[in-house]
Symmetry: C3
Subunit: 413 residues, 3 copies
């Protein structure tokens, strides 16, 4: 018997077993089920395949290199600095031309600072004093420029408040920022952005520069909606595309993000794979808090005089930082994701059927009739073993024998 | 015939076909199956939906900009440098205030280097010589500071070992690092970190700064567990949060990672989306190999004397580099992922059923009885289709009636 | 009645319901189905588990820090610069030793530039003039070095073309690049790359340096195919591994990507987790357009003479930029992904069965016979529940036979 079962099992390996279905001639549920099926199909085709390109193997580990180069000069004539010409070397920091660069647009210059003692600058709470003991010697001024020397300097009579003397780079910076940006002309500078990318998995590489033999092209062109393959950008335009005004931004500075998206469908021709540029302002311009808005930093040029003493010119530079962010993905047809997606899509149908069953078996009028049809009991009897067993077995055994006969036959044939 | 088949097919389009089930009144397997179902359900609800928020469409392409600004001064008085005050411009490299900045904590200064000839420094194997021919002219010293001039300089008598003379920036650096960090006071410096983020897909932007009108807030506050919206950090605290000691680290230098995580559930209020900071030491502090532990680099300030000859002050700077890494994701309810996750969760039930079938059909006692009930044979004979068809139908219909009788019994009882 | 249904529902909660199957003794479809099952199984085991390690929970948010340090000196002797020794401080920009560093290999030096007036350089279209009015005062020269002063300087007689005089850093740079790289010897420089990584989820950290006590190891070793744990690279080798020639590249410059991949299977021993290096050239070397090939930038050293006037030495540096990109992932066994993957794999079988059903029911010869076996009709009657139930069964079974008769007819016709 068990042996037969095993034999049957082995034989049945190459029978095809298919679920037995009950056809419920109920158009409501039938239509419902078709709708579910269609929507799953629509999702599968429309979303998974057309939108998400589920039939493709994708590579998102893009290898990118960015080279930037600015062009442009600006002439300024201020009482402080006199006649001065600014070229790339002067206003681009750092000079390397990587994917992050900063263009100076406004300045506070504090020339000829030397180490020594002087007044701390006004408006620093910690530096206000009325007597020398308020300026503990050697103690740094909180949020200040130096360490206190222990002397409280007063302009007026004795009982007025004074300011601590400090040891620092003197004179200290005067806190006033030009209202109109010194280098507002930077708006007309141009930046050349060269971006070479590579998708290692597909060994596909491309650059954002038009592959032309016409040398003059790169000399004269400017990037625009029409001309996506000219990588030369007008700084003013970049800022306006990011939704800001250059002259406003130039006063306090800020950060602009230049995003280059490569979304390449390598099933199409390589020439179909284009870079997409988007420009956003990355620092939150909405806040008006002086400390938190804008972008600036201090740096210095160090000199040494004949007597070998160092002095420096400190510059507080306001300006616009440009961050170039490159990302992208490439896709190419591949059989495995295709099958997986189709398979799991079909598997979803099971969920649909499950849902419709609920409706059929528990929600509609004749549900319990369908329940009877759908569920066929297989009770192996319980009480009065022998007695019932007989009937039970009689029926079932008669079945069994029938089946087994069939088996035998099938074995014989 | 084929036509009839097609007609049937078309008609059946709007019938609902549902699998026929055999009810195995076997509580063991039944309970087992319920357990499986419940655990799948638990997984679906608990893991997929509550933990992984499977009902949300997510955006991980965070746009972030970081602006950093250090504050603090330190006064040093060494024989080498004399009285010196260090302010931000002196000790922060690079000055731009980007997401990576370096704070000098210890120095080896080699002033007034000029191009010329001098001793190679001690302890460089390749520079040890006994006669001039050991110092091939023009050959660079391996791991050294210059090219050999061809002369072997000896301090003592002839037969002692000497050191090659080299053409280099002279004098060469003396290899001794202050045991106590020159700028240990850097521990009390503060850094202001401004991080503005944006999730383009949901057009949601936020910053890590409390949106307050109180100007004094940002002047006085310090970041702490309680005060997560004050972006001003005490360097010493950062290092201790990363599990290191500032003064130890200051001697040899190191790298600290400041991680800002934005995990935003945009189904909740925007004010629920907070930055989470974590601090880790990125360079492996455990190794003690001099060459591989700590962090330092050399740079120089170049000067030109009256006679137009360049000279430089070379500085070997030890210090702490802070890398600020921002990442995050935002999620918002979306119907498509919700359906997909529910669907595939239900599809999993199929796997559960498959597993329980194995138990029912092959592992329990009455398995072969259930096997007979579950599998109904459909053998089509080879010859005389009609004839056999009738018997085939007779059997199966008789079966059906039998089943229906059973049903009546089960309903009546 | 409904109550009975509910009772039945409750009771049935702990019955196990299993699909009823029809065994189609059709070896063709049977074998087909087995093939489908086997291929799904093969995919599940081979691809999901062995290749993709689907049984693992993965962490891709790698925390990485890179410290680089170059070694090497080069001696040059040119008419322009005279005898000069280049050490790390001179040729590495920026000096910080981060994951991006630039090595100067070729130079155009323009010494002693001062703000003043001079000729614009040749070959700039916008600067060509025939009379003063061609040089509008104060207007910057497009793609030039300064602003026009309003004078048109001519070398020859009146009617020849001249060049606008400009206010700029004078003298302007002479556009000629040495054909043989000035610092070709940089090929023999070495770079020490220290990369420490950490996988926060598994709290696993490692470094790319052999954990040895032998100090001399790091002094003498060189990275090679055999010696993956020596992090000291020969620049020339790096370039050649990237498929370029150093001396060629040195002339115009370029960008090399050094990729460090960490793919760690934490189920194995930690010592099994190795870094994998790959070297690629990131700038597109194929283009020959002067403006777009190679890599160079300008920077200056600023000096101040005794009279307090600034002057500078401008340097156009050609060289090789090295970008070090670290990425990786770690995996560790976890029960949840394991179950999910097995489950969804089995769910795929449903798709296979669906496909085979199509074959069985519509493509093979005896398909409509199998259709009859697979689909059992359930047409329900309408009024007088109980009463109907009884003859409901009678009727329906009679119906069944009726249907079968219909079928027979349809078969006969």
């Amino acid at each position: 018997m068990g042996q037969v079962a095993w034999k049957g099992m082995f034989m049945s390996l190459f029978d095809y077993k298919t679920e037995k279905y009950v056809i419920a001639k109920n158009k409501k549920v039938g239509v419902l089920f078709r709708i579910v099926q269609l929507s799953i199909l629509a999702y599968l085709v429309g979303w998974v395949f057309v939108v998400k390109k589920g039939y493709q193997d994708t590579d998102t580990s893009i290898q990118s290199s960015v080279i930037t180069k600015l062009k442009g000069v600006a002439y300024t004539n201020t009482t402080e600095l006199g006649e001065k010409l600014w070229d790339v070397v002067d206003y681009v920091i750092p000079p390397q031309g990587e994917n992050v660069f900063f263009v100076v647009t406004n300045l506070i210059v504090t020339p000829n600072q030397r180490q020594g003692t002087c007044f701390e600058s006004y408006g620093i709470p910690d530096a206000v004093c009325s007597k020398n003991t308020d300026c503990t010697e050697g103690e740094p001024v909180i949020a200040g420029n130096g360490v206190k020397t222990g002397r409280c300097l007063k302009s007026g009579p004795v009982n007025t408040t004074g300011i601590c003397e400090i040891f620092a780079w003197c004179p200290v910076e005067k806190k006033k920022r030009p209202k109109i940006p010194l280098l507002g002309k930077a708006e007309n500078f141009t930046v050349y952005i060269k971006n070479s990318i590579r998708f290692p998995k597909f060994n596909f590489s491309k650059t954002n520069i038009l592959d032309t033999d016409d040398d003059s092209f790169l000399k004269n062109c400017r990037f625009s909606e029409e001309n996506h393959y000219c990588p030369i950008f007008h700084l003013g335009k970049i800022v306006s595309w990011a939704g800001s005004d250059f002259q406003d931004m130039a006063v306090e500075g800020g950060v602009i993000g230049i995003r280059i998206e490569w979304d390449c469908d390598l099933d199409k021709d390589a020439s179909e794979c284009h870079p997409h540029y988007s420009f956003t302002r990355l620092d939150n311009k909405f806040t008006e808090k002086s400390v938190s808005s804008g972008y600036n930093f201090r740096f210095a040029k160090y000199y040494r005089d004949a007597s070998g003493i160092d002095y420096r010119t400190m510059i507080k530079a306001y300006g616009i930082r440009f961050d170039i962010l490159v990302n992208g993905k490439a896709g190419k047809f591949n059989i495995i994701p295709t099958i997986i997606n189709i398979g799991s899509g079909l598997a979803l149908m099971g969920a649909g059927a499950f849902f419709c069953d609920l409706v059929l078996l528990y929600l509609i009028k004749k549900s319990n009739f369908y329940r009877d049809k759908k569920f066929e009991e297989a009770k192996s009897s319980t009480k009065k073993p022998i007695q019932v067993k007989v009937n039970g077995q009689k029926k079932s055994s008669s079945l069994d024998t029938l089946d087994h006969l069939k088996h035998l036959q099938s074995v014989e044939t």
